[in-house]
């Protein structure tokens, strides 16, 4: 991939036959804190992120995550298994290109918010 490639180009590769090929054989993330519903978002506007050294799947993740999005939503949009997305997201966090927010512990305050929120729907 050339560094000059535009962010606007759609280079969707479609579903991949061997999921761990895109992680270069890695089958687990070094970031156990990443969960199915962990939210991730780009750490800065896309135009300010250099594409050098990023794989196509990294780029696709950054495109989707210009707003907060959960790991499971990224997985669905990219047609990649959740565990594969966690590894790729971990790469991007390590480069300070994504920030993350863990799921909340469902304590009493959260449960009351959920009850009120569903009632309002």
């Amino acid at each position: 991939m050339s560094d000059e490639q535009s962010w606007d180009e759609d280079d969707d590769l479609g579903p991949l036959v061997r999921p761990y090929a895109v992680t270069r054989g890695r089958t687990r993330t070094g970031r156990p804190e990443l969960q199915v519903i962990t939210l991730v978002m780009t750490s800065r506007p896309l135009e300010q992120i250099p594409r050098a050294g990023l794989d196509d799947e990294h780029v696709q993740i950054l495109r989707w995550c210009q707003r907060p999005l959960s790991i499971v939503e990224v997985s669905s949009h990219l047609h990649l298994p959740i565990s594969v997305v966690k590894i790729l997201v971990g790469d991007l966090i390590a480069r300070d290109l994504l920030i993350s927010r863990s799921a909340v512990n469902p304590d009493i305050k959260v449960l009351q918010a959920v009850i009120n929120g569903i009632r309002r729907l």
Binding site: I37, R67, V72, H77, D107, I108, K109, V114, R119
Partner: protein
């Protein structure tokens, strides 16, 4: 959109998440429930589950690993400016999600949907949540033409003590009632456990 407010680049993400599982037997209406109440059309994805097994006559100690793909349908509800709720259902007759510990860890709880014509479909889910102390409620999905049973009769047949409600998973208001029942049940359990945080 909900993610407004302060600049997330400066302050980190102001939004956090929680999850509820929708469980039950094959064809009981799990994905229909998710679709009835989700603010997005239900999405599907998959996860790779690695099952480690050791052969009984295997003296070498070498473990056999089998990778299984488990499908997952999910939807999303924005609760308020700070909280997004995800609903997860496993489509089809999928026994493998029980091996997927992360899915239930940290969940608010679970709705076990029951079809009174095929009660046995609910047993694995009830056993799973009971044994792990995860709050759950029984949603008795009233299919057209299904023989009517009372909530008490269903609970007796399942031999389970949990809040239960008759529902129609195609109806949004009915789905709201089911989720509120679960959240109230989880709240009661949390309060009883002394979790007054």
């Amino acid at each position: 959109m909900v993610f407004g407010g302060s600049d997330p680049y400066m302050s980190g993400l102001p939004v956090t998440t929680a999850k509820i599982l929708i469980a039950g037997g094959f064809g009981v209406g799990k994905t229909t429930l998710v679709g009835s109440i989700s603010e997005i059309p239900p999405l599907r994805t998959e996860e790779l589950i690695t099952e480690v097994s050791r052969g009984v006559d295997d003296l070498t100690g070498i473990q056999n690993k089998t990778t299984t793909t488990v499908a997952l349908d999910f939807g999303r509800i924005t609760i308020d400016d700070y909280l997004v709720l995800y609903l997860f259902g496993t489509p089809g007759q999928d026994r493998f999600w029980f091996m997927w510990n992360e899915l239930s860890d940290g969940a608010i709880g679970a709705v076990v949907l029951v079809d009174t014509r095929r009660l046995d479909g609910a047993f694995p889910a009830v056993d799973f949540f009971e044994s792990r102390g995860i709050p759950f409620v029984i949603g008795v999905n009233c299919f057209d033409g299904a023989e009517y049973y009372s909530v008490d009769e269903v609970l007796r047949a399942l031999d389970v003590s949990a809040p239960a409600i008759l529902c129609d998973v195609r109806d949004r208001e009915s789905c709201k009632d089911v989720l509120i029942l679960l959240a109230e049940h989880a709240l009661t359990m949390a309060a009883a456990a002394g979790g007054l945080t």
